[in-house]
Symmetry: C3
Subunit: 285 residues, 3 copies
């Protein structure tokens, strides 16, 4: 229940660059390269492996694990379950990114299996995804169906819905006994006790594929060097600030979404202590 | 058999940005991220899913479907067949991009199965691919083998071969009872009645991977908001114009093919009504 | 045992652009698009296919083959074995890139099977990977475990360890009867008789994913037009020079690793005879 200052966060950013932990990402085929480059850009060392035959060996040498269900296959689901189980048995922290949960049966069953059998350190997603998870655990009675892998229109967090959503996320986090990181125009992070909001970021982030997936992998990298709540705050700030700076560069140079995606990795790779201290819009509720 | 004006096309471009339909792409692992970013750039919302277990659920929530056979696996072939069948039964338009048809048995059998059992709204490809399809349906007696996934040298459409190729494409389109979109230095599009040609584009587009795949997915996005012929014309114009503008920027700044690929997404994301009206080189034959 | 001059190398660079051979890459899902774009950038024509059902057909039409084990699946392992066997039976040169060998059982068994049953023309990797291969063939008694898919700290080649590592690589190459290309701050290439070192490149190359994978595919492209030793020297010089120029552009413009990755493809696509002659840092030991 400690309070995290920007000084703490800036330190975590630097520690990751010093320690360069091995971050294992079992993720989708759409954005896997951007995920690897994002992990490298913030200073960690990524590995991506999908075969169930090597699941335990790879988790065994890794410092943390990311599970992103964006493009599941039967084989990958097996790898995810084995990896999550092995991670929890060996005290390796891991994050679950339940992309598109709520829109198909395997996108519901895979997260349920992983959450129930191998409690993740962090679950991250957009509000529609987190609500879909909450509904499956009877924490919520109803939720709006997401638009594919994107958030439902009514689940976009704004000033008016912030307080109620903060309470909701705190409640879900407490019930599931895990840290929850929700991304949106305003990000909400809770460990069931405290709630933080972050107002960094830019709307351009939702005009490219991979912003959410990269965030999940960056959180996974920070999980290797600090506790889940601080990892979630740090990674969300880092991605939000990088997104903001990248969008500014894209607009200033009359570029579109292609260049924005490249500038985002640029900013992640250049980001340091002073960027965190000067740019962060972090609030404790 | 209506005639499409640039005003019509420009309207379709704007309608896609307003409606942002969900475009489901079952596509190859090489260019899948560029496909998602291209769909986002023109204003639609992409989803990529490969598991047969969720095929019907994902098609069920999507507004249109793209099937690209670039890197087939046994599992993905099953997903494609189920998805195409479900799409046709539920009146969801879909486009088939038979990448490399003619070079292997599974690249022949998969399109045949899909075309025969679940008529696509559009089939798009380079001339070698479309001729390979035509030969399998006894519309053509012979064709030149493509160079891998690239067009055969003798199948590059130019001024001299334009008329005969237009007649050929119209004939194939009529026989297969579907819209055909052939890309090349001059693009040819026919619904079996009318034939349109487009002279936008740049040779640099064939020096990166994914130009054809992105085109297929962009056509798929427009399929969600208009009829196959207009969708094919609109998407082909949009990609061609974006390619032209991106190549100019790359050359003006002494950049190579890496930057060109990024500028292409930039231009897709910036393209609007006035770009269409001022840049289009569309002819009705 | 001939000596390769920069004139020879520059000629190979030009011949690849003229002949544009079909280069088949069975590679990982992380960097597959960059691999295709790198192959296109140096002038060859890439094809990527993973299904065992079409393995022999695709190798049959290809001029050379690349096998990269970065993200193995059961199906892909089958494709690799069939493809390697068919390549060797049909005198198609191929290169093996044993990504992460030493860190899991399938990453050990797959290269062993391929090396033993279908001798590759080139094996390329970082020093940790090549040492792991050597240990499995009893050429070395011990080696340091790599850090995931990255080189172990103690295996980074520098001035002090250069001579001993050159001798080691020459020995491994002789014993395995294949050309070995080791990448690092100083690259070492040997065919068991001669040893060449290359000091081009930039540290930024290890801050993005895919530098090694792209190198493997570029070597594969050159394998289609010359012998393994000259192909390895040419491809390593080409990638190193492109990396150096790209890093300079990134630094001069205060860009990060995202832009660097794009500039790398730019430089590969612009590289010509005069770049080779003016920039190469090639030494025969």
């Amino acid at each position: 229940m400690s309070e995290y200052t920007l000084e703490n966060i800036a330190q975590v950013v630097e520690i990751l660059r010093e320690k360069s932990p091995l971050t294992h990402c079992i993720t989708n085929v759409v954005t896997v390269k951007d995920c690897a480059n994002a992990v490298l850009a913030v200073g960690a060392s990524p590995i991506m492996a999908n075969a169930p035959e090597e699941a335990e060996e790879i988790v065994g040498i890794s410092n943390s694990l990311v599970i992103n269900i964006g493009t599941l296959t039967k084989e990958q689901i097996e790898t995810m379950k084995k990896s999550a189980k092995f991670a929890i048995e060996n005290n390796k922290p891991f994050i679950l990114d339940p992309v598109g949960v709520g829109i198909s049966n395997i996108r519901n069953q895979t997260p349920i299996d992983i959450i129930t059998n191998s409690k993740p350190s962090i679950i991250r997603g957009n509000l529609s995804e987190i609500k879909a998870i909450a509904m499956m655990y009877d924490i919520l009675d109803e939720c709006t169906m997401a638009k594919g892998v994107d958030v439902a229109q009514c689940d976009i967090i704004n000033k008016d819905t912030l307080i109620s959503n903060c309470n909701l996320i705190k409640n879900i986090s407490e019930k599931l006994n895990t840290t929850i990181a929700v991304s949106g125009p305003i990000d909400i992070i809770s460990d069931g006790h405290d709630v933080y909001t972050i107002e960094n970021g830019d709307a351009m982030m939702s005009r490219i594929t991979g912003s959410g997936c990269m965030l999940g992998c960056v959180l996974g990298a920070y999980l290797a060097v600090t506790n889940p709540l601080e990892a979630a705050i740090t990674g969300t700030l880092v991605m939000g600030i990088a997104g903001e700076l990248a969008a500014k560069t894209a607009r200033d140079n009359n570029k579109g979404t292609g260049s924005f995606g490249i500038y985002l990795i640029d900013e992640l790779s250049k980001l340091n202590k002073s960027t965190i201290l000067s740019q962060s819009k972090l609030n404790k509720m």
